[in-house]
Symmetry: D2
Subunit: 358 residues, 4 copies
């Protein structure tokens, strides 16, 4: 596997005039970081989420990293409807005191319009069903839609943005259809989704993010020809953390840890159900699915082994619709190969996770 | 069948400020028409085309009608790539001296990205392969994309716009995904596409516009809950005109007739091929497919018999992918029924066609 | 369309020794017929049924024809389970005093094993739910299975047997897989099944006999390369008889007419339901589906217009699974073309139907 | 996992009169074995093969076991056409001096009739393209067909026969359709086929035996409700032997080893190709696929870990047609669970393999 070389770039004016107001705090942080870590290359992330609890964990990981700038968070239906997703992202940002990061409402239906249930793992509202009376209102959202915003942000930072997608890929699929050059302007794409051994966690053979919008996954895997890193379902299961680790993680005496403990309670309970345990590959434990894709985007050396292989998505199977397909025999004659994650630096993962709640 | 009542509405300010410049001429025409036909209800059309020769015929029919305002023409890949489609629309507008009508470039790939060949019926360039050195340049296009423009035009004229779609339905499908309320703001949708008796003209069982983007057709038939009128392939074949009529039509001594004769020559020749004749249902003749949907949008009494039935599109069949499906048994439990055209006023059709070249 | 020339053949010893016992009566009939119609070419039929009421009508039509020998009747699941089908065939034979004709039990599941409901049109027992205490027992069945019997009968009469199939094609599909030369030894194949205009009477787009076993229909249409005549659903609807005709038909003062009136009562009532009327193409009336295929097998000049076209069956469609596919564009590159019936001699049809109950 | 208890049974008259002639030698062997191993329970096997080299290895393993009686070997198209398969089986039996075992010709096409290429791994003739001028002729075949023979053999030995299937499952699927009680009379079914982690060795996601006849695999996995043991492709790869072991195996100074070395030469060479190595899971080496299923049928304690799970086959996927599907989430609501092999006694496997060539 080869990780493409990082491109040095000035990180000053990556927001358009339209969003300048919201970015004052971010900017001062930028300057501060710039001064203290003179030689550090800052990472520009665009994050596309269906903010359940694991998306929250991934977002908080990125927010905690001093050399990471989140240029925007785009929302899409997945764990819950897009309105809840927007609310959840704002709550996470508020808990981390980063409400200045622009949040965009995206699409509320998969490409074909056939919504599947996300079940109740993260609660009906996607964030553990523990409403917060002081949650920020939807007026904090940007007026621009997610798809347009993604295109614009990447246009303004060509070759510099890592897109981290931890949700059904609907927004991304629409972005490439609306603007065919969108993928080529990304620095990289980091996906949590799909599966590599036909182990379904939603349908018989499909993982949730891909099952929720197979057409979008198909479009993204076939048209995003940028460097693409995939944390599939089985991979995340093979890299789960012990529940004892999770206990210690949540027991940190910080506001963020208390926030996480509150929103995560329901998922932890649900994860003990027979169904949840049947979904897991290779034993039980704490699988923060979305955080692996985020860690890979944040940390260049995070992935220690990956398989470079052409991938696509099954659209028509009775049992396999939405299943990721790895073309190990080269039968599909695709030139583009994704990096399918196999092994990662788990020590660093634990650090990043710990930092997220500090 | 019930044709929804027309809503009387002021037709003054249906264009946004952004497009005002282009519309000066149109406006004066409007005023003139308004004065001369005081009580006439003007029709506002938005036309989505993949401008081959039959799209050209449909556009010219609309341009010739004094009580019709074309608010915009949106382009999409179909008979040829979207760049050619844009060029072709501009050539048609120039031939009719209506270059002031705004034209928008739309999507150049079907939803899933799998382009099928349109064959060579209308020529490689979609307009008979008779290049015009004086053709208007692509700088005449609006800078806004087709999908955004469609949404905006309909937002500015809620309940008043009839959308005539004579191409693969990609732009429409993206419009509803980007703006879920888009269909509910249409006055009506007039589609040339699909088939009713499994008579394919492109694949074994599918008509070209649907075969070229089955997912888009599926989305439109399932999510556009506005009054929807469909001129399917077999219907257009059952209402073909004799070639002798076509000869007389093209022999009119007008600039438009000469333009049409020039761009139509190749299609007329091709229509004599074995393959073209195999495609036709119910004998040979002149089938100006797209013009029936346009005539229905222009003329309230044009449709004399239609069948109100729930429709959808087959996405997964080996031979039937892209085939329109009519749920005559009510098995799909859909509330929305389309008006599938059965019979039309052919005398009026001939008049509208004749007028188009005058 | 060309009807293959009839081959003159001695019709004496077409039954194997094993079935000789049962055939004594048939043989004497044969001799009688032979003497009285010296120059007549006798027709050898093998009839495969899922004996509902329309199968009964078709069987009775054949039984009534003096120049027809039914070499065997094979049973298969369709309108009802195979046990009921066997019982029904025996009842029909008893009503016609032809119990000497050998009846064989066939397969009780479609190829893939997924049974669909036949609904209640012909009653739960397939024959109008009017049980007959004096019905013949299943001990009248031959011990040999239907598939083996079909193969053997055709082997013993190579090139002479017309196979009339008015049921799901499971038995036929198994026969060709067990004995690949089976189809080539048939004189002709007459099928009631499939549809030509995507008008489903069972699923959205599929006719019952094909919908009940799409794989079998696929195998038969692709591997029975003998002359094949298809009476599709729409065709039978276009050739329906008025209900007044049916009244007169049933009012004949014969034992057979009284039998038919008794078993047909329920179907006649059901045919007035909204669902049944929605299934019908081109208005209401009496459609004795299976009798057209039988009439074509009996009477060489019965078909007056047919279309010779390659046909196959859609296996994978969401809405179209089981739909017959006509390759009018020649895209499938199949050499074998079926004769799809378009027009028939309706005067002769009425006579044959009348004779059936005399 | 629970291995069903063996049923003690007299093993004397398991052949019908029709095959008695051929069995004289076998019988004397039986008596000998009976005397020497008084308490040993003899195993009755029916073996269904598409005799490539690995089938040959599996057959030779069974032939070498003193407590195993092969009641019949049925042939089916797979690695090569059914005629070659028959010839190959006869050659293997001759090499082992067991030509008295009855061999039956089975089906030469998959259920749907669509033959896929087996490639050239085992040579065009399936047995390494090293023709033997002294090979036994096809007159050594039984006259009965494979499907009938399977049914009859199992009927004559109800509850006692282990069916080992190392080929496309066409014969088995036809057997259950012809005789629905067939599976319930088996003691057990041992299948080499399918895959568990979507690792295709033939199409992108499917293993050869299932890919070659997906409908047959579907029918068998859904209708054979007897104890079913599956050695999937990945499992066999995880249990490969080193090529060095293979060298020693073939270097034995026996007639059988020389026979194997001769027919296996081509496969060994082909296995070094890029494509062959891409097919293998978990590194390179010697995978005698079919031998694991045979070993499991021969040796009760051979399987040391298995997963009991409902299985089926994908029939409609674009990339996944023919892929085995494991319903780990219990979504299919199937009562019957197969034993999917996970770990086996490799020491015993090596012994059985060694014995095969002694």
């Amino acid at each position: 596997m080869s990780i493409p070389l990082l491109r040095l770039s000035a990180h000053t004016t990556f927001f358009s005039v339209r969003r300048r107001k919201a970015l004052v705090n971010t900017k001062s942080t930028n300057i501060f970081t710039h001064l203290s870590c003179f030689s550090m290359i800052r990472k520009k992330l665009l994050v596309d989420v269906d903010c359940g609890v694991d998306d929250a964990q991934a977002i908080m990981m990125a927010l905690a990293e001093p050399n990471v700038d989140i240029l925007g968070i785009t929302c899409v239906r997945g764990n819950t409807n897009v309105e809840n997703v927007c609310k959840n992202v704002l709550r996470v940002l508020q808990a981390c005191r980063k409400l200045q990061i622009p949040v965009f409402r995206g699409v509320d239906k998969p490409i074909l319009g056939k919504v599947i249930s996300a079940g109740d793992f993260h609660g009906q509202d996607g964030l553990g069903d523990v409403p917060d009376p002081n949650a920020p209102g939807l007026d904090h959202l940007q007026s621009e839609g997610a798809v347009s915003a993604m295109i614009q942000i990447v246009n303004e930072n060509p070759g510099e943005v890592s897109l981290v997608a931890t949700a059904p890929l609907t927004n991304l699929a629409l972005a490439v259809r609306m603007e065919p050059t969108f993928p080529s302007k990304l620095k990289g794409l980091y996906i949590m989704g799909g599966n590599t051994e036909s182990r379904g966690n939603t349908t018989v053979c499909a993982e949730f993010n891909f099952a929720a919008d197979p057409e979008a996954a198909y479009i993204v895997l076939n048209e995003f020809l940028c460097p693409t890193y995939i944390a599939g379902w089985e991979f995340t299961c093979y890299h789960k953390l012990p529940w004892s680790w999770c206990d210690a993680w949540l027991a940190q005496d910080t506001e963020k840890a208390r926030f996480m403990a509150r929103i995560f309670r329901k998922s932890i309970e649900t994860s003990k159900s027979e169904r949840s345990q049947a979904e897991l590959v290779d034993g039980i434990g704490f699988v923060s699915c979305d955080s692996y894709a985020m860690a890979a985007a944040i940390e260049d050396d995070f992935i220690t082994e990956s398989e470079q292989v052409a991938v696509t998505v099954e659209l028509t199977g009775t049992y396999t619709r939405g299943m990721m397909v790895l073309d190990k025999l080269g039968l599909l004659k695709k030139n583009h190969k994704a990096f399918v994650m196999k092994k990662v630096n788990m020590k660093r993962f634990e650090e990043l996770m710990m930092d997220a709640l500090k």
